[in-house]
């Protein structure tokens, strides 16, 4: 794993203790997006599948982490403003959340607006996948500010 991903994982575990309690690992960051996963053990519900609250928390964290990487670990504050989540299938083995990369134009616009106004917002999509099927679809509106 790259040093940037190790720094991201350490940052999440230190600054957002729930990420440690959930057993979150930063898996990869490439052209497809940022991947975070977590075992079922600390995240199961009364039915033995992933708890919806764990899924929404990990999706939120994955969106946050993608921005942290895309913005190059700036000192910008990143917060979530709103989100919508749809639970399509139960997650039975482990949680694997993928946040898609921003396309170049969207990222450039985000950075330009942030630089000019000190504040900008962006929509991010996160999916939780299992056996190549989409189990959860999440869309979050994140705000970047000084």
């Amino acid at each position: 794993m790259s040093e940037a991903l190790l720094r991201l994982e350490a940052f999440l575990h230190e600054q957002i203790p729930l990420s440690r309690a959930m057993g979150v690992s930063v898996r990869s960051y490439d052209a497809d997006g940022l991947v975070i996963d977590a075992p079922l053990g600390p995240n199961h519900n009364h039915l033995g599948t992933a708890f919806g609250g764990s899924l929404s928390a990990i999706a939120t964290l994955t969106g946050y982490a993608l921005l942290w990487m895309e913005l190059g670990e700036t000192n910008a504050h990143i917060v979530i403003k709103s989100s919508t989540i749809r639970y399509l299938r139960p997650v039975r083995t482990g949680i694997c959340a993928v946040c898609r990369r921003l396309d170049a134009e969207t990222l450039a616009h985000l950075k330009e607006t942030y630089t000019r106004r000190g504040k900008a917002q962006v929509d991010l999509q996160v999916r939780v996948m299992e056996d190549q099927q989409v189990c959860v679809e999440f869309e979050g509106l994140f705000v970047v500010m000084r």
Copy 2:
């Protein structure tokens, strides 16, 4: 605290381990709704306020718990199908989530549909309050099934 609330809290801590990691307590259940709270310690973010993922997880749990109480601890399975959350203000001291009671007509309809079809769904509203201000608004669609 009533025995039913103690049973609910024990059930959540045993069956949904994240609720224990978040330090969730079932506070009250009366005409105003079901109240669950959790300290900031295990639930803060990098800014020292409540992590959005903790807030969404606790809102989800509070909706689930309200149904558990309203349905009288039936053997019905309760799962969440979708939700939307809006973060209006940062939560600075501790998390207090309130799920409003269902009105009598909605509850009767839910039970009747569940009995007849083995499956029914219902919208629940949860708010996270601090200093008498609404910090978070959550709406979740829950499914009750055999």
